[in-house]
Symmetry: C2
């Protein structure tokens, strides 16, 4: 009988709990030189990773680090310190002017009692969308019209919409396996819905929170107005509150609600991209970039979005330094400012890159949460980079990483695509991300240190392979 | 410029947040008939899965459902109800006598003040191991000797160990990517350590909790004594407390501690395997089994271990019923009793299977937590079943499932291996499992509904493929 079956039977006879039934230390396979480097990277990250400790510091010291905030300024200082502690060849900041929007006093959405009845209104759990204009101080009060899409709004037209509060209530589709796909599919309601509502004469817009979880946590996020159309105040309801409002509208179609938003926009504020690098031994002017974004929404600790990406990017440099990996090309960590509501950081960086004449071989970002990494998406103007990278799949599979897909990189690295860089994004497990995304619950306890560190090791491994073998 | 690049640029120009940069609805690929079935299974599970609601019921109604407990009896009743609600061909119970051990009043481990000093002792966070004998009422008080392995204990020998409390303090190795491997590698300290301590004349044994998290949560689990050696009381310290004790021993090597355990063993108690099945249309006497275990540790809500496996197994039958999939072979869900401290349920089931002459084509269990599924392990006496199953890998990859490895199935299905069945186990992500395993924190909030439902869909898909195509 083969030895593995023998061990199974022995395990069974001894009543060994399931996890013990695995042979504890199977003989170590002989590793190739490149397998050894990846093993060293993952072992260092899992056994001695510093990203989680850095994340604790960042989200404790600088929650709510939206563009223009003091918290973002503190985050610039603390991440610069983290980079300086690594003994890099260069740590510096790039000045960037960023938009400055503030939420102001807490917003409210109140369901008014039906006309002729007594009693007060019922508060619906809500949060103003980022960039929303303020309502008048006393709020906007009007009837509500529920729609499932911007197209439906267009079909209804100005006649039925004017003077009303539009309520976009199409849930994210749970049948998408990738929750990012479900977000992309439903996200137009938040991103463009209020602008469309204004176009048809609505007085305010509410959107169902972009979450697959049914709960009381409202999700903010950017909404963008059309420059040539009226702007209306906009807020997101929690998924519970959205269901509550929808049910109330069935019972009482002409229900009225009051929306109060007290936000304010200020002149652009100074901010910074924070940058650290290890100079390449052979090609110092050819860059491999790894990055995340430093800002978060004002209501969010920003642990997954995108504290995780920042500390993973810093960890990549630490792994190179600690393991004595001397890159041929310059490895540069860029912590972009203002991804959430302006992308001024990435625009400014791309401008600088264009002017400096430095070539970016690869620009990879991590902005999809600090979960177990599953793969990378890669895009290039020079043919299918994801297919070329897939040759490394056998090297990554022992670490649970197997998916190399064609993709758009990410918001902060995409401007480098037209400059000839291959852009890429780390793809972690997506199931839990939108439970926390852009909310007050995106906190440290939602991040597992091992999953975070595996992501950093995945990034360092890809970068080491591109540095040594090209892509 | 290729259209995907064009969309990238448009997305960038519009300052679209990263997740929006993905095309929302790429053209749906044409699916093969088998791809359509898997798509239907996963869609039903993600959009209408009932496993999470069942899990809420199970862990709310029956936490701490250890063999011999009232809670386990309640779990038998409630899971039988869940199966009955599905309109199956048969739902029944198999009588099984199970061991009955109770923890009794709360255990304690107290660090005594050094001789000659004043002040009270310091409590160390601890939990008695399952099956531990009781200490005398006043506890066992002795000096502590710290070791890193059973081998080290053997090297020290009776002379240095007799009369002492042995403290096994080898941490789980964080560099294993699979935390199950790390558990298997460190687990002998809990499983066999106290027996070894007794053999060398120790008066009690403490083990470091089997966890990769540094926290105050102690982990219980089975310890097994040798029948021909003295038995000693045994408890696990939280990882924090283990570090605390280790540091104290460096400062004061002859420190003494008191261990109090108040457990009691009772005569065997009646219990049940709970079974439901859909009769096969062509081969009703050939079984495809899916199962988990109904019992949990007494201190644990048992959400991941193994409420998740029970409700996933039930969900497999629901998916077949709801989607109108009429299996050729009988699909049987078995919820085994007493996996944690006796495996009497699986032994009794295997005995019955052997006597009945029913052939088990495949017996797959799910007992590694309700996390995102990544693959299956498969074992067979008829050559490499995992390699044969790997032909389905392209069907599973869209759902994040890619790993088909040689493996031992699991504790409850392994006895069926020698009867000619292929045994298998669902392999979910392992990073978070041992943070909660065998603790009071293994609660509903640690389970993500989508991850749980993806696991159920993975099981149903494997079973449908084996039913229709053989393995």
């Amino acid at each position: 009988m083969p030895s593995h079956l023998r061990s199974l039977l022995i395990a069974t006879v001894l009543l060994v709990p399931s996890a013990f039934a695995q042979p504890a230390r199977p003989p170590e396979p002989v590793l190739t030189p490149e397998e050894k480097v990846l093993r060293a990277i993952f072992t260092e990250a899992l056994a001695h990773g510093q990203a989680y400790d850095n994340l604790r510091l960042l989200v404790t010291d600088s929650p709510g680090r939206l563009a223009g905030s003091k918290a973002l300024e503190r985050a610039v200082v603390s991440t610069e310190k983290m980079l300086n502690a690594l003994g890099l060849d260069r740590v510096y900041k790039q000045d960037v002017m960023v938009p400055h929007w503030e939420r102001g006093p807490k917003e409210s959405v109140t369901l008014l009692p039906p006309a002729g009845t007594k009693g007060g209104g019922i508060g619906l759990t809500a949060v103003a969308l980022g960039g929303s204009i303020a309502s008048p101080k006393e709020g906007v009060t009007a009837e509500v019209i529920e729609v499932k899409s911007i197209d439906e709004l267009a079909t209804l037209g100005r006649e039925k919409v004017a003077g009303k509060i539009v309520f976009f209530n199409r849930p994210m589709d749970p049948s998408f396996v990738s929750t990012g796909r479900a977000y992309g599919d439903a996200g137009d309601q938040r991103f463009r819905g209020p602008a469309a509502a204004g176009k048809y004469g609505a007085v305010a817009a509410l959107t169902r929170s972009l979450s697959l979880s049914l709960d009381d946590v409202p999700h903010t996020g950017l909404t963008v107005y059309a420059s040539d159309q009226p702007k209306v105040p906009a807020a997101a309801l929690s998924t519970h509150a959205a269901n509550q409002l929808s049910a109330a509208l069935i019972a009482t179609p002409r229900l009225r609600i009051t929306v109060k938003v007290h936000s304010q926009s200020f002149p652009d504020a100074p901010s910074h991209n924070v940058i650290g690098e290890i100079r390449g031994t052979e090609f110092p002017d050819e860059i491999i970039l790894v990055g995340g974004h430093l800002d978060s929404w004002d209501i969010a600790p920003g642990a997954h979005d995108n504290g995780a990406g920042c500390v993973q990017s810093i960890e990549v440099l630490r792994l190179f330094r600690t393991l004595g990996l001397k890159p041929r090309h310059t490895i540069r960590c860029v912590l972009f400012t203002n991804e959430e509501n302006g992308t001024r950081g990435s625009t400014a960086y791309a401008d600088l890159a264009s002017k400096s004449g430095q070539k970016h071989l690869l620009a990879v970002e991590t902005d999809n949460g600090g979960f177990q990494p599953r793969g990378f998406n890669l895009g290039s103007t020079q043919g299918p980079a994801h297919e070329r990278a897939a040759r490394w799949r056998p090297l990554f599979e022992p670490y649970g990483i197997y998916a190399f897909s064609k993709g758009p990189g990410g918001t902060d690295v995409n401007p480098l695509l037209v400059q000839g860089s291959t852009v890429a994004g780390l793809t972690p497990d997506s199931q839990r991300y939108f439970d926390y995304h852009h909310t007050s619950t995106d906190s440290l306890d939602k991040v597992n240190p091992r999953e975070l560190h595996l992501g950093a090791a995945a990034l360092a491994s890809l970068i080491w392979l591109v540095d040594t073998q090209g892509l």
